[in-house]
């Protein structure tokens, strides 16, 4: 059997069409769309990748659809550890969603790429202007490299100390009033022969930021930069970090060197650890594993007597520049940040709502850790230090550059002063580059 010329041409054309469809199918835009009947289709991506939370979010989005006739929302949950990479890929290929949640550390890279919509005008005319915590709104505005409001925060969190209340009671320890008391308690509750450790250090993925949170809280230093010089290598910081590092393999498990979030929290929940430093987000894990046997306390006051908090990157909602329906996308953000929905989202995440009208909800008072964090945030003796999230290199410095060096510090291969010196130098270079632009 032979093919005619027309048949061959048709075959070649068909193959090309099929190949094109195959290739471009992978690159189709994920942004909003309008179908033939005029219905608006929005896409919403959640960056946290939590299956339990996805069910609640789907329910919330379905309720939004019911209240907004003609608008449908397609939901996609991204794995948390690769959400940044996936959204970056979407930005590069012009296939962003209309709206997504992001971590605070994503904001600067996205703004730098011109991927996010300017929300200033929308926000100025919205009731959210009077409802959202003004300090948190100002904080996310400052985190954007151009100083423009591109995002709105939906959770407030705080780094705290989770501890085994039953071990504390057995040992006759009431609280951790000072940092000296913290170190004494850690030593007192360590019993290696019983597989009990006073503390667990996050030595692997995500190790440097919690270390800095501890160091700022310990020293009471209230600025990240002073005249362009990073404060992280201040002698007081070196002393604080040295004290922390000295706990490793003495009052902590040896395996802490590789600890990321999950193993660290897992060790505490397995019943091997007396105290762990983490934010409010791990509450659900502790409640499930250690019901009635744990509690939370905020960091002790610093050497200056003030409480100093290096603020956690806030989780935020953003609208992408590539959306075909900016008004409907904004309506979705407004809905998600309304007092009732913001309260539900934060109850699900065990975090503090950013809508102040939701902060008096009953469920917050019933959770000891949340009410402790809320009380600290309303304290007059609190100084909040903002990490330089506006630096596009910030995540790269904190993670890929410095995490391996911190492991070398724990392993005794690099001195604490050298580690902090390197970190300060990189941050100062990034800051100088940012200022010169």
């Amino acid at each position: 059997m032979t093919l005619t010329r027309t048949g061959r041409r048709a075959g070649v054309l068909g193959s090309l069409v099929a190949a094109s469809a195959l290739l471009t199918g992978c690159l189709s835009a994920g942004g909003g769309d309008t179908d033939a009947e005029g219905e608006v289709r929005l896409t919403y991506w959640d960056h946290s990748g939590n299956a339990d939370e996805s069910d609640t979010l789907r329910q919330i989005l379905a309720e939004f659809e019911e209240q907004h006739e003609g608008v449908t929302v397609e939901f996609l949950s991204l794995p948390s550890d690769s959400a940044l990479q996936k959204i970056n890929t979407a930005i590069s290929s012009d296939s962003t969603p209309d709206v997504s949640s992001i971590s605070g550390s994503f904001l600067s890279p996205f703004v730098s790429q011109g991927a996010l919509l300017d929300l200033e005008d929308y926000f100025a005319e919205s009731s959210l202007r009077d409802e959202l915590d003004p300090e948190l709104v100002e904080s996310v505005r400052g985190d954007a490299p151009d100083g423009v409001l591109h995002s709105l925060p939906f959770t407030g969190t705080s780094s705290i100390l989770w501890y085994r209340s039953d071990w504390f009671a057995e040992a006759g320890i009431d609280a951790i009033p000072t940092w000296d008391g913290f170190f004494q308690t850690v030593a007192q509750l360590t019993d290696k022969s019983q597989g009990r450790y006073g503390f667990t250090i996050r030595g692997g993925e995500g190790s440097v930021f919690p270390l800095l949170q501890y160091a700022f809280a310990y020293t009471g230093i209230e600025d990240f930069f002073v005249d362009g010089e990073a404060t992280v290598d201040d002698p007081a910081m070196v002393e604080a970090v040295q004290r922390y590092v000295d706990l490793y393999d003495v009052s902590t498990p040896t395996a802490d060197l590789n600890n990321g979030y999950a193993p660290m929290v897992g060790q505490f929940d397995a019943g091997d650890i007396a105290i762990v430093q983490h934010n409010l987000g791990s509450l659900a894990n502790h409640e499930e594993a250690l019901p009635g046997a744990f509690a939370a306390t905020t960091f002790p006051p610093s050497a200056t007597g003030r409480n100093v908090v290096l603020s956690d990157p806030l989780q935020q909602y953003v609208v992408y520049e590539g959306t075909d329906h900016p008004d409907e996308a904004w309506e979705l953000v407004e809905y998600l940040l309304s007092p009732e929905v913001n309260s539900r989202v934060n109850e699900m995440k065990s975090q503090l709502p950013t809508n102040v009208e939701a902060r008096d909800d009953e469920w917050i008072g019933s959770i000891q850790a949340l009410s402790a964090a809320r009380d600290l945030q309303s304290s007059d003796d609190l100084a909040v230090v903002s990490p330089p999230l506006y630096l596009p290199e910030y995540s790269s410095i904190i993670r890929s550059d410095m995490e391996p060096v911190f492991q070398q510090v724990l392993a005794g291969q690099v001195a604490v002063a050298d580690f902090l010196g390197q970190l300060a130098e990189k941050l100062e270079q990034a800051e100088a580059g940012f200022r010169s632009r």
Partner: protein, 306 residues
């Protein structure tokens, strides 16, 4: 009349010849298109990008870099040379140990004995397990609270709470053992297939000549396996050079950079730093190293020549 027929037949014959000439190319064209799209284009694109500053989080710095990325790699990057050293050590340890143990196991399961079937299944089973699942298994084994360390502690062989993956001196070897477990079946399967193709008469003749078991292995089995050993070690060497999944999930390159291989470093540069220009330069160098070493290896080993 004959002349007319010949003249009118010529265009048809020419068309048939042309068609016959084009047919092989048409048949080859799908694979040529696939290779161009999925191999040639990415390689050329990576090479091209390696001469540019391209970082998605700092687009204002993007532009032609010349040899800047290569200068940074060879002279300013504290991780590049150590990662290359770790890669070399990793490939050497893996290929050598996997070959030796795989060969021994192939010879054992080639013998006739009871339960040979289950024994073969046992030897080959790690090959069916994914890299991430291998990581989970070995993380549990190395866990100081639940793993084999607890048993070793009871016998006094290990100190309390010892974590092999958290120790700079042992992390490489702990990871190497996990990969060894996964990689041995590759050699065992290939070598067993080849061993089974050796004519039995050769062994009989050697036995008649009084050759011992060792001499039969040395003078009959090994020469017969020569080509498959050369090819499989080359394939495995390239594979192990590019290994990312197990190390990424088991140690993520740590402690420090003690298990950071070059491909793992490239992955970190690309995924965390989003520095695709520099990542492309690192990838290009890795590609050139593999290409040169592969050509040299094939030349020196004289593959296919007696």
């Amino acid at each position: 009349m004959n002349a007319l027929a010949t003249t009118s037949a010529r265009p048809g014959a020419a068309r048939r010849r042309r068609r016959r000439g084009l047919t092989p190319w048409l048949l080859l064209s799908p694979i040529v298109v696939l290779i161009s799209v999925f191999m040639a284009y990415p390689i050329i694109n990576v090479l091209y990008t390696s001469f540019f500053h391209k970082n998605v989080v700092m687009p204002w710095n993007d532009g032609f870099a010349g040899l800047d990325n290569y200068r940074r790699m060879f002279f300013d990057d504290p991780t590049f040379w150590p990662s290359l050293g770790v890669t070399g050590r990793w490939v050497l340890v893996q290929v050598t140990c996997q070959l030796v143990v795989g060969l021994v196991l192939a010879l054992i399961v080639n013998e006739r004995f009871r339960a040979r079937g289950p024994a073969r299944a046992l030897v080959f089973s790690p090959w069916a397990i994914s890299g991430v699942l291998t990581t989970s298994i070995w993380l549990l084994l190395y866990n100081p609270s639940t793993g084999i360390i607890t048993v070793l502690e009871k016998f006094g062989v290990s100190s309390v709470g010892f974590a092999p993956l958290a120790d700079v001196d042992t992390a490489f070897w702990a990871a190497a053992l996990a990969e060894l477990w996964r990689g041995i079946p590759f050699f065992a399967i290939l070598l067993l297939a080849e061993v089974q193709s050796i004519p039995h008469e050769l062994y009989e003749a050697a036995s008649v000549d009084g050759a011992s078991r060792w001499r039969r292995f040395w003078h009959v089995t090994l020469p017969h396996l020569r080509n498959v050993i050369i090819l499989s070690t080359l394939l495995r060497g390239v594979w192990e050079f590019n290994n990312v999944d197990l190390l990424y999930t088991l140690t993520n390159g740590g402690p420090g950079t003690s298990t950071t291989t070059l491909p793992l470093y490239v992955a970190q540069v690309a995924t965390i730093s989003s520095d695709f220009g520099y990542g492309s330069a690192l990838t290009t160098v890795a590609f050139v190293i593999l290409l040169v070493l592969s050509i040299l290896y094939l030349r020196l080993s004289r593959l296919g020549k007696d």
